[in-house]
Symmetry: C3
Subunit: 317 residues, 3 copies
């Protein structure tokens, strides 16, 4: 999330009740979580395990619960006992939860030739392009951007909050949601089926590339970036912060784990489970996915175990 304008560090320190260390002249331009952080951004970290990743990231300002770290040249720290609460305070300040009381927010913009069917909810500051059809009972959350010639079928939800939590098993409530201040971008000529859910970015964006087609009941997690002309069959599930390059095909019920990359024009056959990066231009199958030809040979080998057993018994007798 970018702020409406750069802010001074003193103002920010005051907002979150923090102490400024390092380069106090920086005027941060936004806030992002570590996967999406850019120069000018604030990031936060509350566990020593991740201190270095955050200090060495593109972030200009690090909200942190320790003074006992080396501040990289030119950067600043905002020291506070609870960086996670500080993050929530900043998000609440810039993106307070303001439910539209109308089904279609007055701040939403709907392009020429576009149709929004009955019983849809279109949130605050949503932008819908031209010649786009939003079928009934669709929900589009605040700040999402929908392109031209897009089709979104009935019951689909665009811009649900990210499933992304601060987890501490030593408190009564283990999981506290990192409030999402990101959004979803659906590019031109995308078609999305019925009953799908596409989560918004935690602090940045979830993006579906132009010309991609998505069947019913597909789930796409926060901050995932889907390329152009991809095809996802029904009931595919994709976790958060995944990169799916152009022309990828995922057949029915495929599951994709988080923060991995699937290369250009790769194909994953039905019910495959993708645990880590896949090279492009190949066909995969199984849980965990292997190249489909290897997986098929394995299934043949499994069928030969009884024969093998018999041979061994004969040889040993």
């Amino acid at each position: 999330m970018k702020f409406p304008a750069p802010v001074t560090l003193d103002w920010m320190a005051n907002l979150i009740d923090a102490e400024v260390l390092g380069n106090s002249t920086i005027t941060p331009t936004g806030i992002n979580e570590i996967h999406k952080v850019e120069t000018g951004d604030i990031v936060f970290v509350d566990h020593p395990k991740y201190y270095n990743t955050c200090l060495q990231s593109a972030a200009s300002v690090i909200i942190i619960n320790s003074k006992d770290v080396t501040i990289p040249n030119g950067k600043a720290l905002l020291y506070t006992a609870d960086p996670f609460e500080a993050y929530l305070k900043i998000v609440d300040y810039f993106k307070p939860f303001t439910p539209s009381t109308k089904a279609i927010s007055e701040t939403a913009v709907i392009g020429e030739g576009s149709v929004v069917m009955p019983n849809c909810y279109i949130g605050n500051r949503v932008i819908i392009g031209n010649n786009t059809i939003i079928h009934p009972n669709v929900t589009i959350g605040d700040d999402c951007i929908i392109g031209n010639n897009v089709v979104i079928q009935a019951g689909t939800v665009i811009g649900s909050d990210a499933f992304y939590y601060n987890t501490k098993k030593n408190r009564q409530v283990w999981f506290k949601r990192m409030k999402s201040c990101g959004h979803v971008v659906i590019e031109d000529n995308v078609e999305i089926g019925a009953g799908c859910t596409i989560d918004r970015g935690v602090t940045a964006e979830t993006r579906i590339g132009s010309g991609t087609i998505i069947d019913n009941q597909v789930h796409i997690g926060h901050d995932t970036k889907v390329g152009k002309n991809c095809l996802f069959a029904a009931q595919v599930g994709i976790a958060g912060a995944v990169v799916i390059e152009d022309g990828v095909t995922l057949w029915g019920q495929v599951g994709v784990s988080k923060t991995l990359t699937i290369g250009k024009d790769a194909v994953v056959l039905a019910q495959g489970g993708v645990p880590s990066d896949l090279e492009g231009n190949k066909v995969y199958w199984g849980t965990p996915t292997q190249e489909a030809s290897i997986k098929r040979r394995e299934l043949v080998w499994i069928k030969r175990i009884p024969e093998l057993w018999k041979k061994v018994m004969e040889a040993n007798s």
Copy 2:
């Protein structure tokens, strides 16, 4: 389901056109199906295979289609030719289907600080606690109870009817639904994603324990009891009458079969299929689930079959 007040057996026998046998002084206080039956309850049974289970259960009164059984001490029978139809008659009497014509029923109670976004349906006698957010296009069926600080994202359905049928393959319509008269309880601090479905109890309750977080497109069956601080990733499916203890993690697309127990702090990895009870504090994988370490070793062994084959061929030559 408990009745508003205890009823006499004679009144009940008259309602369902049954004959009272045994202790006619009992005043039953409710009706429940066999998995959930408590002292004071009526239960019904129409197949000799289950006569004994029902007679020996906590039920005080058994609706049954045979007189040729031994009535346990202090209990009563309601003898009738079709116990299933009698069950339906009782449920229809105490919980007649009364669709609210308004999107938010006038008998629903919504707590302070809670927000119900546009296009939601809130059924009769629903209770929603304080500081809870119900996103757009959510459906909450009759009699469900939602706690404080709960989040329910768009398009989710709480309190759909149980998938629970009386099956007889010798009639034209094989399946007749056991009308649900149960409900759903969502405890405090629970967060539920978009496009989820949580069925009500058939006669009792489906319960989601406090602090549990649920991603998008998760299905939870009737009468399932989920503990505190559990985490269910997207597209998990849990059948009916399951017990999931505190702190359990189910990763994406895991399937859980009915009437089993998953122990405290167990973890099931993505796409696992759970056919029977799992001990707590362990990590599981595969269909059917095994401990993940065993499953991983098996995958390595499968890869060694060709090598094994070669060794046997060499030895035999």
Copy 3:
């Protein structure tokens, strides 16, 4: 799709800017895609690979992008450079997209004793029988037909458009949707859970046979024909143009590939993946599905590989 009345070939040729070849006296009565084409119908084909299938099909008229074919006796061709665009033009002419601006279209017919709960969308020319309950937030698209004594639970979508595209990877947008002009028929006594999606036929119908029961979050593709008294558990996914005969049981999260047949009374156990035809009256399991008894034996054999390895090592030492 049948036309309101037979049309002359000249009129049709003029509509799509085509040249008539062969028997110009035919008056086509409808248009269908190749899987569903009947005598009197127009079909279209734009790839030489499928020329023969279409020419030899039941179609009376073939829209085609070549004159260099043998016209079967009594049939006619409509020659045009882009048969796919011609198809779209015909569908747009006879079934223009006309979104109802009201949540329940004035052309919808709802039978006696039926209840449509709040926040539903009922499209143009929908017919709903008697004593049917449509729960909240359901979407029923244009021209769908719902029988008597049907239950459709909350959030379900009936009649979403088919996931069926004209694919050409040498143009900027690879996928162009074949506009659906088909519909869905739900026969009597069918019960459909919450959060399901049932696509309409591309040009013909998707049909759910009487007495079939469907749990939550089930997806059924276009032109699939489901028999009577089937049972589909939660999160089952069925692709397009499948035939499922009477009495079939699919347990949770089963996936079924396209254009195959599952025989009468077959059972597929949870998470099975069906890649091709299954004979009736058997129990199947696994991905790809095998008879369950064979699959179970395989799992036992896999567990014996280490023992086998040991035997071979001992014999070779």
